[in-house]
Amino acid sequence: MVTIADYKGKVKPDWCPGCGNFAQLSAISAALVDLGIEPKDSVVVSGIGCSSNLPEFINLYGFHGLHGRSLPVASAIKWANSKLTVLAYGGDGDGFFEGTQHFYHTAKRNVDITYIVSDNQVFGLTTGQASPTSQLGMKTKSTPEGNIEKPLNPLTIALTAGATFVARAFSGDALNLREVIKKGITHKGFSFIDVFSPCVTYNKINTYDFFRQRVYKPVTDTKDFDKAYKLAQEWGDKIPIGVLYDVDEKTYEDYDPVISSAPLIDQPPIKLTAEALAEFL
């Protein structure tokens, strides 16, 4: 039986004390244990950034690739071997700046992977610049007079693109985070989880207290797109967390004539014969 010890990495995380990423590392490990998924069958693909270092700190198959590019790698791993549980993981800069087109199109394709974003609304590893989710007016190293770009809303983008599972969680609510991740992994199709993950070093606005005072868990019909879209837009004194949208649709793999029959890795290469060349005669 899988236990939490099985997922414990041999390298200690080097995140700042109090970083929201710790809660996510624990929640991901715990969710995989709860679901009885063995480390050998789990893959985490990440980009570049503080949060993207996570594969170094967990015992499974880790792929720490390029900034913004976790989703194409993760999609192809799933297509190559659908028996694996594939997670993509990274920050808001990684996913919503350089990775935006992959985010949109992976959601549209409904690839059966889970994408968790550690959203701290700032660049951490590059020492504190404005990110795509930084609030308007936020002063950072790159915006000393205050951010003049509106923040992007990852949830409405995911919904618009066609994601079949859209959720939000908070590193300050570990139990709920773990449950949401479990639901995301169980969901068949593309599941997107945006996690509020306070950056204790570079974001003095969106702190643990900021979110504790605002987050609430709405009771909603997760099959209702309009309700989900409305909740996704809530921002201010009250910010909803939990699963906002969860519907069953055929996945990309279901549609594909080659992958739908068997995992690609289990399909031996065809033997090329002279008949295949006959069309050129």
């Binding site: 893959v43 270092n53 390029l66 590019r69 194409p72 190559a80 071997n81 004539p257 005669l281």
Partner: protein
């Protein structure tokens, strides 16, 4: 004029069916047991402009598009005037000379005449008698052209039937139209003085893109992910059409960055995958190329050159990407670059690329060009026996597993996800033998040096195992000519022509462009002169050869977007030799 070969050119506007007509003719030659070679001159336009297609055939191997045109099918007035003008400006193509004849519709009048034979036929009238499709006049013209050189009509009929779906009225209408064109020619005009020795030999008429794709299939490729870009798309189209037959996952993702990352992801998971593009798309893949080198994930990229820079000439050929491909991505990491010399070679280079990528756990780039990718050639045989070698893949339970173990050959065991007990991290950051990062919290200069050396020494093994560099008429050569990639055929023809003039030249053919085989240094030793021929402006291979082998060289280039032509190339080389 040679009487044992024939060159036919079909000219018209985009949308006139120039290429379809050219391919029917090429296939008629191929099915007559003749060697054929084709050349496609076209623009990035769907309707209009002016394009032409040239087909050369003989019982001898024909290795380029050739120089002397025997028969021209002119599908409009522009092409009728353009190709008969002595001041023709088509990138080295010669005009129809006085020995050549031109087949055209008799409704075209008042055109500027050149010094050749004009055969006006009622192409449209004949076509109209057999069906409603106006483009059937092309079929009538093809019938006439085949009659002029004495190709058996039944062979042509079989090709037309295949082309038009074998059944239904279209196929039979076209066969009847072609027959009337064929008969009309024989009744009204003289046959050309050529004797084609047809045979019962079976040839494949195939493009480089298709041949390359077949090589990948033969190598056990299971995934092809590529964003469309001319001239790499011929491989994409062929594979997509045969997705189910070959059980290959074929996908166009959102961009080339995604494509290459997908190919890397699939290879990481243990499935052979390739991506492909031209220089523009390859430029977007550059960062991921380095990741493949750093993480030692096998990768095959098909890079199909077209004339640059930037968007450049989308439908024109060039060999201008060598510097890009061998220099792409930051830092030093091992890579292997192959460049098929012809359509047939594209098959063998590509299937080998997959074994090399997994054996050495490096990115392998198969560099081709528009000329090889899009032109059709006859190939006598493909050897389909191939041993897929997956390289070092770890089994469950390997003790003290180190993904990046510092081995003597630099190659360590990969553990594919799903393998029990061998979980580990693969990282684009510098890492130690276990895959643990040594760039962040713990910076370790000693481990950095060991990891660099481990990766780089993989190439030593590859260089040792390289087969000898191919040569042509080289044994007694006093002067060395060097070509790389798709210029092989035309340069061989130039070598033959120079030999006929008593000049002792021999050819070195480079299809392993990086790293270069050290045997080239030995081949060049003691030669009176070394002349490098390449399809680009600055002589990119020339510079590489000079720096690798410290040799003095002369250079012949062509960068007008078209391939070399044998006669002009022969003259240019001769001028350099006699200078």
């Amino acid at each position: 004029m040679k009487t044992d070969e024939v060159v036919i050119r079909v000219g018209g506007a985009a949308g006139d069916g120039v290429q379809s007509a050219g391919l029917i003719i090429a296939k008629a030659f191929s099915r007559s047991g003749l060697h054929a070679n084709t050349y496609n001159y076209y623009q990035s336009i769907i309707r209009g402009g002016q394009s032409w297609y040239q087909i050369r055939a003989s019982d001898r191997k024909v290795r380029s598009q050739g120089d002397n045109v025997n028969v021209m099918i002119a599908l409009n007035k522009d092409s009728l005037e353009r190709h008969t003008s002595p001041t023709i400006n088509e990138g080295g193509a010669s005009p129809i000379g006085k020995d050549g004849l031109v087949i055209y519709d008799q409704s075209i009048s008042d055109f500027r005449k050149g010094d050749c034979q004009y055969c006006a036929l009622p192409l449209s009238e004949i076509a109209a008698r057999h069906g409603k499709n106006a483009l059937m006049k092309n079929t009538v013209a093809i019938g006439a052209a085949m009659a002029s050189i004495g190709i058996n009509f039944e062979v042509l009929a079989s090709v037309i039937r295949d082309q038009f779906g074998n059944k239904g009225t279209a196929a039979e209408e076209n066969v009847k139209a072609a027959k009337e064109g064929y008969d009309h020619y024989l009744q009204n005009f003289k046959k050309l003085n050529v004797t084609l020795k047809t045979s019962s030999k079976k040839f494949y008429l195939i493009s480089g893109g298709e041949s390359l794709a077949l090589g990948a299939v033969n190598a056990g490729m299971k995934m092809y992910v590529a964003y469309p870009m001319t001239p790499a798309s011929s491989a994409l189209h062929y594979l997509a059409e045969h997705e189910k037959d070959f059980k290959i996952f074929v996908k166009i993702p959102e961009d080339e960055i995604s494509a290459v990352n997908m190919a890397i992801g699939a290879n990481y998971a243990g499935v052979r995958a390739m991506t492909g593009s031209s220089g523009g798309g390859f430029s977007l893949m550059v960062e991921a190329l380095g990741m493949s080198g750093m993480m030692e994930v096998p990768l095959v990229i098909y890079e199909s050159q077209r004339a640059g820079p930037s968007t450049g000439l989308p439908t024109k050929t060039e060999q201008g990407d060598l510097n890009l491909v061998i220099g792409a991505s930051q830092g030093d990491f091992p890579r292997i670059v192959l460049a098929p010399r012809n359509v047939e070679d594209a098959f063998y280079c590509t299937r080998e690329a997959f074994n090399l990528a997994e054996k050495y756990q490096v990115p392998v780039i198969v560099m081709s060009d528009l000329y090889v990718a899009e032109h059709y050639e006859t190939v006598e045989k493909f050897d389909l026996n191939f041993k897929i070698e997956r390289g070092k893949i770890a089994s469950p339970g390997s003790e003290n597993y180190r993904r990046y173990e510092y081995t003597s050959d630099g190659i360590s065991f990969r553990a594919l996800p799903g393998t029990a007990e061998l979980m580990h991290n693969e990282d684009s950051d510098e890492h130690n033998e276990y895959g643990d990062v040594v760039s962040d919290a713990v910076t370790d200069p000693t481990l950095r040096v060991e990891s660099m050396k481990k990766r780089m020494r993989k190439l030593d093994g590859y260089i040792r195992e390289m087969p000898p560099t191919p040569t042509y008429r080289y044994d007694d050569a006093e002067i060395a000519i060097i070509q790389w990639g798709g210029t092989q055929g035309v340069v061989e023809e130039a070598v033959d022509a120079l030999r006929e003039k008593g000049i002792r030249v021999g050819l070195i053919e480079i299809n392993r462009v990086y790293p270069l085989n050290p045997d080239i240094g030995k081949l060049l030793h003691g030669k009176k002169q070394i002349i490098v021929v390449e399809n680009n402006y600055s002589g990119q291979m020339n510079r590489l050869l000079r720096s690798e082998f410290l040799v003095k060289t002369d250079l012949v280039t062509k960068f007008d977007g078209e391939s070399f032509y044998p006669r002009a190339l022969t003259e240019e080389i001769e001028t350099i030799i006699k200078r």
